[in-house]
Amino acid sequence: MIFGLSFHWLGKYVSFYVEGLLMTVQLALCAVALGTIFGTLVGLMRLSRNKPLVFFATAWVDFIRGVPVILQIYIIYYGLSLNIPDFWAAVISLTVNSSAYIGETVRAGIQAVDKGQMEAARCIGMSYAKAMRLIIIPQAIKKIFPALGNEFIILIKNTSLVSIIGLHELTYLSNTIRANTYLAFEPLIITAIVYFSLTYILKKALGVIERRMSASD
């Protein structure tokens, strides 16, 4: 007993946390990777000169940002009832959601690069695409990085929402522990500590990378 809390159950259930953590990390890694790819696409589409593309990307961002994540998960899992493993349904839901937010981050980052950089690149004969790839995007990445780190942290926390479709990640399994042990506070506070450790480590790691990147300024 610590402060009137009991942790005698922990030894028996530690494997639950390990399993949950592994699932959460897998979900987050897949969703971060795919979310970054699709988010970048959404961001570039919003900046393109092709009107239908801009319209589609803007509508996408507005809709996704205006609808609760949990509803997006329901729509993709129950509504579309895709014939795919639950894990991928969860990854798709999280990717769809983060693509909108990351898309906005990418768009803002690219727009924050001085207009003269594109002009100078075009003036030596570079195509728009080449100027984007060699000059604008490398500079935008530096500007985007801190905001992108925030999106990753939000994404990790959002993985908890896919517990509602029965994926055995941290939140789902801590609920299982709660049901089995008839204890609520203790299992949940440990889950909270695990999530916090995960996001805190990520925050620190991103900070290190950020400092390295700004070293070349």
Binding site: G116, A121, C123, M126, K130
Partner: protein
């Protein structure tokens, strides 16, 4: 070399250029002067289509750049441009700034491109700054790198858009010196500037722009000692 016919440019309802006709000949240094807001920079930026003309034609070496099926990237290689705010690529160091066009646009091997870039940097007096990043350079050094970047493409003509206006006074000289040397080597140049001394000394022809129109075109000597148009007289009396 460059023929401008009936060039007009509007920004929304604002008419910035109201019909400009001029021919720039090979080897000539044409200096464009005029009050701020007269359309000097817009005129220059129309020459390489950084601004798309609203009407009129830009004919570069016989090719109408303004017509639809022209590959503008190909022709821009031959039209060097130097900006007021340098616009060096912040993510690249000095030699990369100069070599990137050779490597990525002209497809020259990296090694060769670097040798060529070093040569040009030597010419503008910056061989000791090869690995520096733009943020470590003074304004004058930045502008000389920008000139080297444009020269690396071996252009037929160089456009200077107030290349010394953003510089501290003590750095204006070093940039003007590079421009003077270029002119002496026979480079075709169109120079928008507030440096009247430079216009008088280096220019073959001076064009005075006011409210989007050429109000006087003259030799530097005539322009500065005996302007014909009363508005030229008025402007020059304020700046000389």
């Amino acid at each position: 070399m460059i023929e401008v016919r009936g060039l007009k440019k509007n920004f929304g309802k604002l008419e910035v250029l109201k019909g400009i006709d001029i021919t720039i000949n090979k080897g000539e240094v044409v200096v464009v002067i005029g009050p701020s807001g007269s359309g000097k920079s817009t005129f220059l930026r129309c020459l390489n289509l950084l601004e798309m003309p609203t009407a009129g034609e830009i004919i570069f070496e016989g090719i109408p750049l303004t017509s639809k099926n022209v590959d503008i990237d190909k022709h821009r290689q031959k039209i060097g441009m130097v900006f007021q705010l340098f616009n060096l690529f912040h993510n690249l160091n000095v030699i990369e700034n100069v070599a990137i066009g050779l490597i990525q646009v002209k497809g020259i091997a990296k090694k060769e491109a670097y040798i060529a870039a070093e040569k040009i940097l030597n010419r503008v007096g910056l061989s000791d700054k090869v690995t520096a990043f733009p943020s470590q350079l003074s304004g004058g050094q930045k502008q000389r790198v920008a000139i080297a970047r444009a020269l690396a493409m071996n252009p037929e003509v160089m456009l200077f858009d107030e290349a010394t206006s953003a510089l501290d006074p003590e750095m204006v000289g070093e940039v003007l010196q590079v421009m003077r040397e270029l002119a002496a080597e026979g480079m075709t140049m169109v120079v928008v500037t507030h440096e009247m001394g430079f216009a008088r000394e280096v220019g073959d022809r001076v064009i005075l722009l006011d409210s989007g129109m050429i109000i006087e075109e003259n030799t530097p000597r005539e322009m500065f000692t005996n302007p014909k148009n009363p508005r030229s007289k008025d402007f020059l009396s304020k700046v000389l």
